[in-house]
Amino acid sequence: MKLPLSWLAEFVTVEAEVEEICRRLTVAGVEVENIARVRPAFSDVVVARVLKTERHPNADRLSLCEVEAGPVGRFSVVCGAPNVRAGMITAYARLGSRLMSGVHGQGGVEAIEQAPPLQAAVIRGIKSDGMLCSERELGLSQEHQGILELDEGESGADLASALYLDDTVLEIAITPNRGDCLSVLGLAREVAALFGVKLKEIRLRPGKALKPGSDQVTIAVGIDAPDLCPRYAALPMAAVKIGPSPIWMRRRLELAGMRPINNVVDTTNYVMLALGQPLHAFDYGKLAGGKIIVRRAGNDREITTLDGIQRALMPDDLVIADAEKPVAIAGVMGGGNSEVGAETNTILLESAYFEPMTVARTGRRLALRSEASYRFERGIDREGQVRALYMAAEIIRKIAGGREAGPIVDVDARPAPPREIVLEPGAIGSLLGVELPTAEVSRRLKSLGAWVTSGGKGKLIVAPPSFRPDLNEPADLAEEVARLNGLEEIPAAAPDRRSAAPAAEDPSRIFARASREVMLGCGLTEIKSIAFVASDDNQAYPGIGTGKPVRVANPISAELSELRCSLIPGLVTALRFNLNRQAGAFHGFEIGRVFAMDGEQAAEFERIAGIGYGEYAMGTIGRESISADFFMIKGIVESYLESIPGLAPRSFVAPGATSLAFLHPGKSAAISIEERQIGYLGELHPRAASHLELATPCVIFELDLTAILAYAAAKGRRVELPPRFPAVRRDLALVVEQALPADKVLKTIRESSSNLLESVRLFDVYEGGSLPTGRKSVGIACLYRARDRTLTDSEVNRAHAELIERVRVGLGAELRH
């Protein structure tokens, strides 16, 4: 809402600096976002009357004019405007005044001060004391056909003040609960309450209607949907001459952010801005049967609105209809079929209360928003309808020559129920944490327009004013009481803690934090990506689960039309972003949520994922570094999984033909715990890598954080003491099938061993040389130990020999010497 202070001053007078008014409003919840000073594009121009004109002796198109500017004096001016004539009131720039180039909207103090002062000129041999100005020369518009013509004005008065050109406009953010502040009157009420002053009385009286006969018209108003429209008032005006509004009106509308249209439409907008009551003007001649019926659209399926667009109606939309057809969508926009135009002679002004929900629903469905619907949606004054018609009629009489063509028809189909809020003593204090005397609470509420009576025993009965639909219960009144003096009045206090126990934290969060720390230690940098991806991303990187992607019903764009199934697209994007900026390597991870359909329902899952590309670690001059490859990323994943206390054993399995299609089929693995897949890792498929223009292998992993947490040990693990007796190591070289996974060898050994075998470790894999093709040799270190004694050689030898025999048979392996 834009509030010109000159307009505010018509409703309230406050002895305070603008900054102080703004500060008080802001602290009270009516936030002033900007203070804009507007200045005219001229200085020292006054209102003047042309006394007489005569032809310039040396030029056909020039006139010699005598102008009178009250106390400023009388002057002789040469004027070239075709419209100059004796008796007209216009703008006179005297000697020494300054004019900007005349470009519309280019106001500003600096600029005007730079403009040269006007000097006396001799035009075709005759001296001119100053000049008469066009709208363009004054910076008011592009109009330059003739000089400015004013309807009225006091000679010698400062033109800037007369046209509201010298003003300050406050830009105010009105919260959705304060529809009452969407008007000059509403803001004036607020200012009056904050500064403890009274509103100026605005006298609004009905004008005299035409005598029956002449132009008087009859109208009938019926409300068929009182649930959606409880009140509808209408006033016909005849003998209206449609034309442009006077400058002061246009100026005010522009300062308040609206575009001038014609004198009638401008008047409805002006009254709406002044009082907060939206008005609509129909061309009475286009209303069939002189009837207004407020009803649901029902079988009427469409209407063409003022903007020329055909709109589909739903049966429950509220419309204004004449005897035959809808002529407006209630509160949203008028119909083209009843529009006021240049030929309109008789108008019907509508001033109604429409229920916020109906206007909001229809407006949203049609994506049609107007200044009127904005106010209806937020709730206008339940009792402000007739007053607005008075004001509109007064202005139209003045600027459009109209007369009331009948009395106001005011249908109150569903009177507003009385509202009462009972305030128990101390109710406000116990919410705010500060005790206020009942009398003070009462005083503040009264200053806001509430009707306050005592209910006995310290109780207050509060009837909120009709323009505050947002006040419904004691908490609402507490806010009003608190904000009037600013919240500084409330002390800051520490709450009583009932328990001194340390506050808990969600286990998933603790786990995510610990996971993050391991990743950082592994040299991966944390990234954050946006959860929206393109459908292609989800197809390329379907993640761990099998659920279908979640589609966004109203995405920002096609590139962001689904929710990510996997964190990989974000990591790949981050990699590409950094490579494009000359990074040679990138190692990152993300912990976040991914989304997939769980049957018919969208569901979310916690993931951790990482990416490695390029030089990774431990290199320097003369020493080659480790670069991203399968075993680098597997090392990180193993380090991570090993860092989780008591995590159940996990297995890495080469993928099947169809799974993990985005990974290199020979350099990737699915990771499972107890047969359940908890993740995967591997090198990006060469086709994907080449698509991303990656020169060296790119490795990724993704793990299901929730599943891992579920498989991690619960609290209360037991700690084992370090062994006291030495271990004995026996190495073993087995020649096995080349395709046999090392994991299988180790598993067989573990399962075949006696209880003296403490651990087995693979330390070498060898192929080629003297080995037959299709075979490989694996070197294995076996560690034997007893908890209770030092093992003898013969004990170890016996156990080892037994182990070899069993493994040889079990794996079809030969011993290599």
Binding site: R364, R497, A503, E526, K528, A583
Partner: protein, 349 residues
């Protein structure tokens, strides 16, 4: 025999002069003390020595042996020392060359900000609860006193997922999720991602982080004064003890009374600058007393319970703290930006 021994000794000692080389010393050791050395030979020939002389000769042999061994050891020690000295001067590295680094990652600034905030709240007695991103209308709007078609819903342009579900537009769903399950006293913070239909730009992102907090107890026990106390304490702990805090009335559907909280502008300290639009204040969070309708929606009697709630935008706060103005920095993941953050949850200056 004695003479022979003396000869062996003096020759050996002569050869074991101070400047003897490693190989000269080794030669002497092998020739005299070795398995087939001169002294060994003499011991072997002992049976030819008259019996009564044997002990004396044996003693002499041992004496010479001990003497020579000591001498050799001393010389070798000296040589070793000299060699070490030599190697120390020779093996000089260019210590300005880079080390072989163990890589170290960096925390994302949003994470850092969230963790720092939560640490303060946790220390102030707030329990940390994770809640969901996918919500239904009830938990994101209706229960929070956003009636259908209410203009307040437009403050939050929502992503819909179909099936009556949506992406939460704020972490305030945490209030409803927790209060549905539990009874006061409650002191809870819920961090999480929120989603609104804004394009990624300098000022906005379709996904961002918030922290919702609320404290509920019996009516009268938690008041607006406590809201002010708790938030002032938090903001001073997070932004510095000299931070000025201002509460001003505002509107949120789920609180009544509502208050926006401003802090003194971090850039100008309150004097007024471009960043704070010359007001000296920066809007930092929204708060208020939980609306009675919200309490009713979770089955609490507003006459019995009351409390406060607040919502804090993490991304914007992080921008303020870092003194940068572009939201996109958080989602581009430029390592030249991320690399400036530590690998721990320590506060960043």
């Amino acid at each position: 025999m004695r003479e022979q021994l003396e000869q062996i000794r003096s020759r050996a000692l002569a050869e074991l002069a101070a400047e003897a080389t490693e190989s000269a010393i080794e030669d002497v050791r092998v020739r005299v003390l070795g398995r087939a050395g001169e002294l060994t030979e003499i011991m072997r020939g002992m049976r030819e020595v008259p019996a009564q002389e044997r002990p004396a000769i044996g003693q002499l042999v041992n004496q010479i042996k001990t003497e020579l061994e000591a001498r050799i050891e001393a010389l070798q020690g000296k040589l070793k020392e000299a060699a070490l000295e030599r190697s120390l001067t020779e093996a000089r590295l260019d210590v300005t060359l880079p080390g072989a680094k163990i890589p170290r990652g960096h925390l994302h600034p949003i994470t850092l900000t969230i963790e720092n905030m939560l640490r303060i709240f946790n220390a102030m007695g707030f329990e940390i609860v994770a809640t969901r991103d996918i919500e239904d209308d009830f938990h994101n709007f209706a229960a929070l006193n956003f009636p259908p078609d209410h203009p307040a819903r437009e403050m939050q342009d929502t992503f819909f997922l179909g099936g009556g579900l949506l992406l939460r537009t704020h972490t305030s769903n945490g209030q409803i999720r927790v209060m549905e399950q539990r009874r006061p006293p409650l002191a809870i913070v819920c961090p999480g991602n929120c989603y609104r239909r804004d394009e990624l730009s300098v000022r906005a992102s379709p996904m961002f982080s918030q922290i919702e907090g609320f404290m509920v107890d019996r009516a009268g026990r938690i008041t607006m004064a406590h809201l002010k106390g708790v938030l002032t304490e938090f903001l001073r702990a997070f932004f510095g003890s000299d931070t000025a805090v201002r509460f001003r009335a505002s509107f949120f559907p789920f609180t009544e009374p509502s208050a926006e909280v401003d802090i003194s502008c971090l850039l100008c300290g309150g004097k007024g600058c471009r960043i704070c639009k010359h007001s000296g204040w920066t809007e930092i969070l929204g708060s208020g007393m939980i609306h009675p309708n919200v309490l009713r929606a979770v089955g609490y009697d507003p006459a019995e319970y009351q409390g406060f709630a607040f919502g804090l935008g993490v991304d914007r706060t992080a921008l303020l703290r870092l003194g940068v103005e572009d939201m996109r920095l958080f989602f581009e993941n430029d390592v030249r930006f991320l690399g400036q953050f530590p690998a721990s949850n320590e506060r960043f200056a």
